[in-house]
Amino acid sequence: MKYQLSTTARLTRGMACALALLACSQLAIAKDRVTLNDGRVVEGEIARELNGSVWVKTSDGLTQFYPASDVLRIERDVDEAGGNTPAEPGVTDPAPSEAAPEADSKPEQKRAVSPGAPRAAIITFGDADAGQGMVGTYVTAQSFREAIPLLEEENIDIVVIRINSGGGAVAELMPLSDVLHNEYKPRFRTVAWVDYAISAASLTPHTLTEHYFMRRGAYGGNTAWFGAMQAVEGRGLEDVLYMAERISERGGHDPRIIRAMQIMDPLSVDLDENGRIEAMYQNDQGEVLINPHNRVLALTSVSAQQLGFADGIADTLDELGAAMGLTEVVWVGEEVEGVSYPVSKAESYLRRFREQTARDEQRLNEYFDGYNVAIDLAQGADEDSKGKFVGFARRSLNSIVRMVDNNPNLALFQFGQSEEDFRDWVRQQEEILRNL
């Protein structure tokens, strides 16, 4: 018996070594595979998994985020040949519970499906009610980029972008879309929470895959225009249409939706017996007419659901968490009077940024007028009294510079020049002041 046991033990050890070697060789060539609802298959290394959403690092080094709502199946450690069944029954449910982390042997994957609840932060995409909704002025790529370290500092897993903006500058569309797509999506599960999202304020968040609507939510009306309400036409229009197609692709949305929001193209759908979209048409031939001829599409929460565009309806944080499929979530931030959600560090930064921009925008003409008048007075003054006007002009110039330091976009949107050109102009003015 002792011999037998000993033999069994040796055999077991031998088997273990063999399996370990096998496992090592598999690690060297193994891939994870994510099958999406639309049939696409993504292969790479699952860098992170959270409530069914995954971050996949692909061979080109990029990390891409796929929300749980898009994920049909997750397979781990699939071999290079691609067709074999994983060694473990590694087919996981698209929305695994935290208590059941599946056949998951890698330590970092165990960390990804953390025992703690995910941490979520709300950041605001403008504040139209405070007159701070303009995309390009109050909602900028730079401010969103600068919010990222603050989100990371608070170990945020999920970023909810609450939209309250009536639109803004076309010039800021792609920079903002780039930040959301290349910098937010790989790091966080990033979702849009739609309150008031008009024009550029819907086109930019179209980059995101998940959109949750407040019942009162409005989304669309993206026609580009200039001057006295003149529509952008010709090549300019094609450029904007193409930009929207690219943004749609990034968000995984049918480009016909955004097109109907830009120009007066109709949109209709066929539904299956379960009310799901079976086909979409850029005409009025579908069973359900979403946008008729001669109209620009702007969605409500009702039509967004009809169109299958809204991933859920939520007016409160509880409803939002439920709609997002979160069994539990920590909404990170401090209570601030008059604000209905916890204010995270990133949100606090964005609010301060907008407030400062608003103050500067209101006083822009004052800064410039003060500078110009003081320079004139200095140039006409005798040597004894020149200094006080130069000092005044310098203070005004410093205010202008601080304004652009806080928000470089103001160089473009207020002065019509690039930030570089603005800095050149400042250097010239400093030279003038020195010579005075």
Binding site: S199, G221, A298, G370, V373
Partner: protein
């Protein structure tokens, strides 16, 4: 004796029986009374949103009224909506037809927040908000839709938002349409939020909207087509079809069919209105609290004070501007310095008024400010003037 005793006992017994019956009747009566009578007396806070929308009816006074209602622990807040529906410059105050009016989504958006769950988050027990509709025309059309409960005055109406087109006179069609679509989606969002049918908004704002309804189980089923049977009823037809375009006879009588105006009867049939009442007591009766309620607060004073304050502010601004223009900067250095100081004080006073009452002031209607488009523009310009005064003083030699 026995009989007597019996009689006496009988009398006492009858008295007891009567008393018992009376108590029983009271108990039964109590049981039969509505639940409200047994509960704590509900507190009712009332005010009228009347006058000019955007001037008399703005965020600040409504916020103050709502705050007072919260502090007093109101269970019901009743808001009567009765806006002016004539041209402001019309001395005869002739009522405008239903099919006119300007709809500005930006006027209602700040007020909206007062009635949402977020706006009511500070309340321990959220109150029942009841709108009582008399004249909810133009931008005010959306006020009653901010709650799930509205009653109509017999002459009540909601509409006058076809002006969403008229607001954008210039520009290319597609750009106008974009702005209209965005405004209407926002308006419909408010309506959806309170549980009403967004198709009603299209019918009010877009002349080409065809909308009918039939009742199923007492509830309306809306149809984007003409009626096809006797149990279907037309709300609006297509203004783009010549023979369906409203004629002046119908328009003058408020019977047009191109743009929907909700009146008391139709609103009740459609379930938009919960009833028609012509006075506050009737409304309290409909709410089931006529016999047992306590009116609290003085919302009427808050709204009236605001109106008076704005009127006084407009007068003060006109006076201050006149006084500012009369100041002459001349004489000795000290006189000039003093004069600039007076100018600065006037400018700061005027700026203070525009900052405080920005939401309600329309510079173009105030003597001396006709060239300004908005309070923000006045404030910006005055800041520059203040700075120039400072520079002038710096440049002024003794």
């Amino acid at each position: 004796m026995k009989m007597h005793e019996l009689d006496n006992r009988g009398l006492i017994g009858r008295l007891r029986a009567v008393a018992t019956l009376a108590i029983a009747a009271m108990v039964l009566g109590l049981a039969a009374m509505p639940a409200e009578a047994q509960q704590e007396t509900p507190k009712v806070y009332y005010f009228a949103a009347d006058g000019w929308f955007g001037k008399d009816i703005t965020f600040t006074p409504m916020h103050e009224a709502m705050e007072e209602a919260r502090e007093l622990g109101a269970d019901y807040i009743i808001i009567k909506v009765d806006v002016n529906w004539f041209q402001e410059e019309d001395p005869m105050q002739s009522e405008m037809p239903d099919d006119t009016g300007i709809f500005d989504i930006f006027g209602i958006r700040p007020i909206r927040g007062l009635f949402t769950d977020e706006g009511l988050a500070e309340w321990d027990d959220k109150p029942k908000i009841v709108f009582w509709v008399k004249n909810a025309m133009g931008s005010a059309a959306f006020l009653p839709f901010l709650s799930d409960t509205m009653y109509f005055h017999p002459e009540g109406r909601i509409g006058g938002i076809r002006g969403v087109y008229l607001r954008y006179q210039q520009g290319d069609e597609v750009v106008k349409e974009k702005l209209v679509a965005a405004s209407l989606a926002t308006a419909k969002g408010m309506v959806i939020d309170s549980g009403y049918e967004p198709k009603l908004i299209d019918a009010m704002a877009r002349g080409e909207t065809v909308l009918s309804y039939r009742l199923e189980g007492g509830r309306p089923v809306y149809l984007n087509r003409e009626p096809e049977s006797t149990d279907e009823f037309l709300l609006t037809n297509n203004a783009l079809i010549d023979e369906q375009r409203d004629n002046i006879r119908d328009l003058a009588r408020g019977r047009g069919k191109n743009f929907l105006t909700l009146r008391a009867d139709t609103a009740q049939i459609l379930g938009v209105s919960k009833g028609t009442v012509d006075n506050l007591d009737d409304l309290l009766f409909e709410l089931g609290i006529i016999r047992n309620h306590e009116m609290v607060g003085d919302g009427e004073s808050i709204m009236d004070n605001w109106t008076r304050t704005i009127e006084r502010t407009e007068d003060a601004l006109a006076r201050l501007m006149r006084e500012f223009q009369e100041i002459e900067v001349d004489g000795e250095w000290g006189d000039r310095r003093r004069a600039r100081g007076q100018q600065r004080a006037k400018l700061q006073q005027m700026m203070g008024f525009f900052e405080r009452y920005e939401e309600a002031l329309e510079p173009r209607q105030i003597p001396g400010f006709q060239n300004f488009r908005s309070p923000a523009q006045v404030i910006g310009q005055f800041r520059i003037m203040l700075q120039r005064l400072e520079l002038e003083q710096l440049a002024d030699e003794r």
